[in-house]
Structure formats: structure tokens, C-alpha cells
């Protein structure tokens, strides 16, 4: 009976996750142009990928993106959640924070593409009216990745803040009362009570947003297409290019498999460091 109830999920998992994953692994061992039949070539793809400077560049670009995106998103979300938790519990405010998250990613990217355009964008007009030079947010290689990271921080920070907020609501109110009686200020309360007791949620949110952040694709595809040169060619975009522009599905599958390995290791380290399975709330 139990099996019957989990069957829908199990079937879905099998068809949409397990089978494609196995197929992807098989492709990574082949020379497969997508147009002709795959041809087994052993580990050749793996050797080539590891020697491909573009692969390492795209990994570095992705790491930079993840660092800025997850870093800024987590800090801002924590602050917002703490404010919601300690200052106001207005439902209107919470909903407003969530609005950017409700906008489709492609729309978000297009809106910012227009706002930040060097010649016609509103933001650059403001910058120029202050007597400064226009900034090529998407065209200057040192700005592209920070720009795209912060756009997605803008889009996701409300959602992350809401998760933290839900976590904070689980922290027993009496710990805060005890802290208040002991004369702890807001900052001390945050660092000594909220943060440590939030740790399991923090770990979960970090792992989920890290994995999500590694999957950055749509904003890049809409705004810079990996450019200028290769300054924003993140790993997902490079995988996509190899598979569907260069018709090298085998090579693309190899990079995808390597990405799974890297993400697996990162997740393991994170969970270990944050001791996610232990909670201090008894």
C-alpha cells in the first residue's frame, strides 16, 4: 500500500530524473552530435574537458557569480527577516518583498537590461546627470558578473528572507524574553540567539540557494549571452553552447556530470560545516 502511494512520485522520479541522469552519463562517454548516433569513446571527453581553458574559465566565472549572489542574498535576507521578525509583522510588507520573486526570470532580465543600458538606460541617465561617466553594466567585463549576480539577488532576496523568517518564528519566544531580562540589546540578541538557533534553516537555505545559484542560465541568455568575450560564460551557458550550438552533446554531458560531482562535494562540506542535522532547539 505504501508503495502504491509513493508510486506517482517514484514514477516521476524515475522518468524525469533517474533515466535522464543515466542517459546523460552514457552520453558523457560518447561522441554524440545530437544529429547522428552516439559513438562510444571512453573517457576521452573527460580528458578534454579537464584540459579545456574555457571550462575552467566558466567554472571561475560561475564561482564568482555564486559568491556574490549567495553572499549578498543571504546577508540581505537575514537582515530583512530579522527586521520582519523583531520590528514589524506586517503581511503587506512581507508580500511586497516577495513581488520580484513572482516575476518570471526572463522578464526580470529584460527589465534590468533596459534600465541598465549604457546609452538609453534610466540608471545611466541618472549617473550621467550627476556628472559621472556612464557605466557599461553588461558590456564592461569587470561589471557583468556583479551586475547579473545582484539582479538575481534582487529577484530572490524576498523569497530567501521569507524562509529565514519562517525559521525565526520557530525559535521559542521565551529565549528572547530571557535575553531582554538579561539586558541584551538587539544586536547581541541577533548574534547570540537568532543566528545560532536558526542554523539548521540557514544551512538548508544556503545549500538550496547555492545549488540554485550554480544553475544560473536564463539571465545570462537574455542579457549578455556569455559576453563580453567570455566574462559571463557561466558553466550552464557553456554546457548549453556545447550541446546546442556546437552540437557536441557528449562533451556537454561530461561537463554536466563534473558539475554534479562538484556540487555534491560542496553540499557535503557545507552540511558538515554547519552541522545541519543538529538543532539546539530541543
Amino acid at each position: 500500500m505504501a508503495l502504491f502511494f509513493i508510486a506517482p512520485v517514484l514514477i516521476g522520479f524515475g522518468i524525469f530524473y533517474l533515466y535522464p541522469a543515466i542517459r546523460g552519463f552514457w552520453w558523457s562517454l560518447t561522441d554524440y552530435s545530437l544529429l547522428a548516433e552516439p559513438e562510444f569513446i571512453g573517457l576521452e571527453n573527460y580528458a578534454n574537458v579537464l584540459q579545456d581553458p574555457e571550462f575552467w574559465n566558466s567554472m571561475a566565472v560561475t564561482f564568482a557569480y555564486v559568491l556574490i549572489n549567495v553572499g549578498s542574498q543571504t546577508i540581505i535576507a537575514l537582515v530583512l527577516a530579522a527586521l520582519m521578525h523583531r520590528l514589524t509583522r506586517s503581511v503587506v510588507l512581507r508580500t511586497t518583498l516577495l513581488l520580484p520573486w513572482l516575476v518570471p526570470n526572463v522578464t526580470v532580465a529584460l527589465i534590468w537590461l533596459w534600465l541598465l543600458d549604457t546609452n538609453l538606460g534610466f540608471i545611466n541617465k541618472v549617473i550621467e546627470s550627476m556628472g559621472l561617466d556612464a557605466v557599461g553594466f553588461f558590456t564592461n567585463p569587470s561589471f557583468t558578473i556583479p551586475t547579473i549576480s545582484l539582479i538575481n539577488t534582487w529577484a530572490y532576496v524576498g523569497y530567501t528572507a521569507l524562509l529565514f523568517y519562517a525559521g525565526m518564528l520557530q525559535i521559542p519566544q521565551d529565549t528572547y524574553e530571557a535575553a531582554a531580562i538579561d539586558g541584551a540589546g538587539e544586536f547581541r540578541t541577533f548574534f547570540r540567539i537568532t543566528l545560532p538557533l536558526l542554523r539548521p534553516i540557514l544551512a538548508l537555505v544556503l545549500v538550496v540557494s547555492l545549488i540554485g545559484s550554480f544553475q544560473i542560465f536564463d539571465t545570462i541568455a537574455v542579457t549578455t549571452k556569455g559576453g563580453p568575450v567570455n566574462a559571463s560564460r557561466v558553466i550552464y551557458y557553456y554546457i548549453y553552447q556545447q550541446a546546442f550550438t556546437y552540437f557536441d552533446m557528449g562533451y556537454a554531458a561530461t561537463m554536466a556530470i563534473l558539475l554534479v560531482l562538484i556540487l555534491g562535494v560542496l553540499t557535503f562540506i557545507q552540511l558538515r560545516l554547519l552541522r545541519a542535522s543538529e538543532s539546539q532547539i530541543a
Partner: protein
């Protein structure tokens, strides 16, 4: 209890969806009796009405063959096509482009049309086409498409900017260029550039850090052909892409003629005549031109109709004459037949009709593109003239000997595009020297063919 029902329902729905999906696959394959429906794909929505008319007329003449046209934007077109080919259900006939077709040939996904031609040798009048277009699609005696349309490159200049610069419109039709001082082309660009104080680029007091109108908007995202700008200038400076074209295997992207050309285009930024690469708009050059932030740019004949509502404000001119003459890239399209298709004879009839003067003149009369058929091309020029757009410059290159050159057609085209474009953009950005970047890129390109 309620929850149980919901779960069961979910299970049944999932099973239903899976069944429906498998059923959908088998239903698509069947057809009834003699009537055949051909799938035809194209990417340009502006051409859709004309080809729909062709399809209707074709079905009128061949009642047993229906044609169903599907249009995808350029961005999705090739990915969708690849996925459909991988699934074995690609359209019977699709519009093919010169730099994409070698991959389909290499993977044996498109049909050789020569056997059909041999059986039906009066089917196509090759003399009716603009010279050079039909050979693009021939590989080792096999023919992978019949010519559909073609395009060349010209200059578009804002008339008001010409007047402000004190230039003569007629003089722009006959510019000269060289990589050393840029010739009269650079002089015109300088005059068209205006700084925020209203001084022109040739004024010694010109402030290159505060430019209001850029004299020229270069295209830097231009693949391995430089079809929209650098390829034309480099060719007029004596550059050739490869040992042979089509299907070259040894490339010359490190040649001094190309290095000089890229250096010259890049130098326009330093002089304040072109927007710095890292501060250019993410919008297309033509949009920037129409916004008034630029005075002149190069563009393909396929984009001319973008100016139909502002025809009186712009003038079209031929590319400048370089040390080796005036040269424009020529690119062509064709219709390809899917090798895995079920109705090849009917597909051949459709392809033949698409390549005929009948269908091409329908398309030509809309003025959207230049059909491969010479008479239909002239009809297209006439249609544009009625809109106030002078298209004669795009045709002028074929009057001169070697006035046009073919964009590179070879295997590994997509990788090549990225490698060369990255190298040229790094020069534009100032992060690399042209010679070093292009030598490196050329080595990578040649390594693709080892």
C-alpha cells in the same frame, strides 16, 4: 479519506499524461490515403505571409500535397531543429543557412538533391539565379539545396547628421578606405561625430571624452565572418578567410591584412568616433542609430525594411573602396530536404517550387529580402523603392568583378564563430593586441580541423 481520493486522482492523472504523450507520438506519423502534408520550417516572421502565399498556390497546383509552415525565431530555430532531428521527427523541408548547413551534411541529415535533378533536368533554371549562389550548396558533386535568397552589406547614414557635418550626400556613395589613415571613410566618420559642445570630430578642439553623436557604430559580435563590418573591410584590404571556400580547412585569421583592419576599427574608439566597446549599448546598432546616438553604421540588405517608416531621414551607401577594391560579403539561404523524411518526392516538388521564379517573385514583391532569382530580386528593389528605400547599393557589388565574396562555409562553423569573435572582442576591449589575439585564435581554429 479525502486525501486518499486526491492522491489516487493524482496517480491516475500522471498515468493519463504519460499515455497521452506516447499516443501523441504515434498519431503524428499517420496520414490518410493519397494526400500528404509536408512540414516546412522558416525563422523570419516577416517572410511568413509571402511563403504562405507560395504554399497556397503550390497546393492549388498539387492538390495532393498540403504544406504546413512553422515559424520559430532565429534564437530557437536551430536548437528546435536539432532536437527534432535527434527525435527523428524533423520537418520535411527547412530553410537552411550557409554557416549551419555543413553540420547537417557531416551528420547525413540532409538529402542530396542532385539525383532528383538528374531525373528531372529541366526542373531548375540555374541561369536565372544571381551568379555564385547555387554553388554554395554543392559539396563534392552533391547538392544540398537550391538557392533561395541572398544579401549584401551597405552603409546607412542619418541625413540630418550629413547636413550638420557639411558633407555632400553624393560624396558618401564613393568613399575610400585604407587601414593606415582610414581614407575618406574616416574623414567622413570624423565629420559626422559631434561632441557635447557641438564640435565635430575633425575640429582640433573636439572633446573625445564627451561625445554626443558617434560618427560610426561598429559591429563587434560578428562571428568568424565579420559579415556586417570587419570581413568586408579586411577583404577589401586583401584578406581571405581560408585556403578554399566553401569547405576550407586552413584559415588565415592571423594574416596582417586582418590584423590591420581590426586595429583600425578599434582605433575609432580611442579617437572618440565610435562608442567604447565596454560602454556600447546592449541594443542593436540600428536601434542606436535610430535613437540618434550614432550617425552611420553598416547593415545587411535584409534589415533595410526596418527603415521603411523613416525612409526620408536616412541615406544608403555602398561600402568604401579599399586598397583591393570595393567588396561586400554575400550570404545565401537555401531549402534543405530532411534525409529522414517520409515524403521525399513530394518534398522535392515543394523545394522545386520554392526555387522557381513563380514563388520567388511572390516573395520578391514584398521587398523583405532579395530572392535568388534575378528578376525577383529586381522586383524586390522596385518594391523597396516604392517605400522610399533605395536598395540599388546592395546590388551594385555584383556589377564589379570580385565585388562580392562568400562568407566562410566550413565544418565546425559554430566553434569558429565563437573563437574568432572572442579574439576580436578582446581587441576591442583593449585586453589583447590584435596580432597576438588573432594568431592565437587562428591556431585554435586550425586545430579544429586536425
Amino acid at each position: 479519506m479525502k486525501r486518499n481520493t486526491a492522491l489516487r486522482l493524482a496517480g491516475i492523472t500522471t498515468a493519463g499524461i504519460v499515455l497521452a504523450m506516447t499516443a501523441g507520438c504515434s498519431a503524428a506519423g499517420g496520414d490518410d490515403g493519397g494526400a500528404v502534408t509536408l512540414d516546412y520550417w522558416l525563422w523570419d516572421d516577416a517572410q511568413l505571409p509571402a511563403y504562405q502565399q507560395c504554399a497556397d498556390e503550390f497546393t492549388e497546383a498539387n492538390p495532393d500535397i498540403q504544406v504546413e509552415i512553422t515559424q520559430y525565431g532565429w534564437g530557437e530555430y536551430w536548437t528546435n531543429l536539432a532536437t527534432q532531428i535527434a527525435a527523428g521527427s524533423a520537418p520535411d523541408v527547412w530553410v537552411n543557412q550557409a554557416s549551419y548547413y555543413p553540420q547537417f551534411v557531416a551528420d547525413k541529415q540532409i538529402e542530396d538533391l542532385q539525383p532528383f535533378l538528374d531525373e528531372d533536368d529541366s526542373a531548375v533554371d540555374f541561369d536565372a539565379y544571381v551568379p555564385g549562389l547555387s554553388d554554395i550548396w554543392v559539396v563534392d558533386g552533391a547538392r544540398y539545396g537550391l538557392p533561395k535568397d541572398w544579401d549584401t552589406i551597405g552603409l546607412v547614414v542619418n541625413k540630418q547628421a550629413i547636413a550638420d557635418a557639411g558633407l555632400d550626400e553624393a560624396s558618401l556613395q564613393d568613399l575610400t578606405w585604407n587601414p593606415d589613415d582610414g581614407g575618406t571613410f574616416e574623414e567622413a566618420i570624423a565629420k559626422l561625430t559631434v561632441d557635447q559642445a557641438g564640435r565635430h570630430g575633425d575640429d582640433p578642439a573636439f572633446d573625445k571624452d564627451n561625445v554626443a553623436v558617434y560618427g560610426f557604430l561598429p559591429e563587434w559580435a560578428d562571428g568568424s565572418a565579420g559579415q556586417n563590418l570587419w570581413g568586408n573591410l579586411a577583404q577589401s584590404n586583401g584578406f581571405t578567410y581560408s585556403d578554399v571556400n566553401p569547405f576550407g580547412t586552413e584559415f588565415n585569421f592571423d594574416s596582417p591584412e586582418l590584423v590591420e583592419t581590426i586595429d583600425w576599427i578599434s582605433s575609432l574608439q580611442a579617437k572618440g568616433y565610435a562608442p567604447p566597446f565596454d560602454q556600447q549599448s546592449t541594443l542593436s546598432r540600428l536601434e542606436v542609430l535610430q535613437s540618434g546616438a550614432g550617425a552611420m553604421t553598416s547593415m545587411g540588405s535584409f534589415n533595410q525594411l526596418m527603415f521603411k517608416d523613416v525612409a526620408a531621414d536616412y541615406v544608403f551607401a555602398a561600402l568604401p573602396t579599399g586598397p583591393e577594391g570595393r567588396k561586400s560579403a554575400i550570404n545565401g539561404l537555401s531549402d534543405a530536404m530532411y534525409a529522414g523524411g517520409e515524403h521525399k518526392d513530394q518534398a522535392w516538388e515543394w523545394i522545386k517550387y520554392l526555387a522557381s521564379g513563380d514563388c520567388q517573385s511572390v516573395v520578391g514583391e514584398t521587398g523583405v529580402i532579395f530572392p535568388a532569382d534575378t528578376a525577383a530580386s529586381e522586383a524586390s528593389v522596385a518594391a523597396r523603392a516604392e517605400l522610399g528605400l533605395d536598395a540599388s547599393v546592395f546590388l551594385s557589388y555584383s556589377e564589379e568583378e570580385d565585388g562580392t565574396f562568400l562568407i566562410p562555409i566550413s565544418y565546425n562553423g559554430a566553434e569558429m564563430n565563437q573563437i574568432v569573435q572572442d579574439a576580436i572582442q578582446s581587441v576591442a576591449l583593449g585586453t589583447a593586441e590584435a596580432e597576438a589575439a588573432l594568431t592565437d585564435a587562428n591556431a585554435k581554429v586550425n586545430a579544429l580541423f586536425e
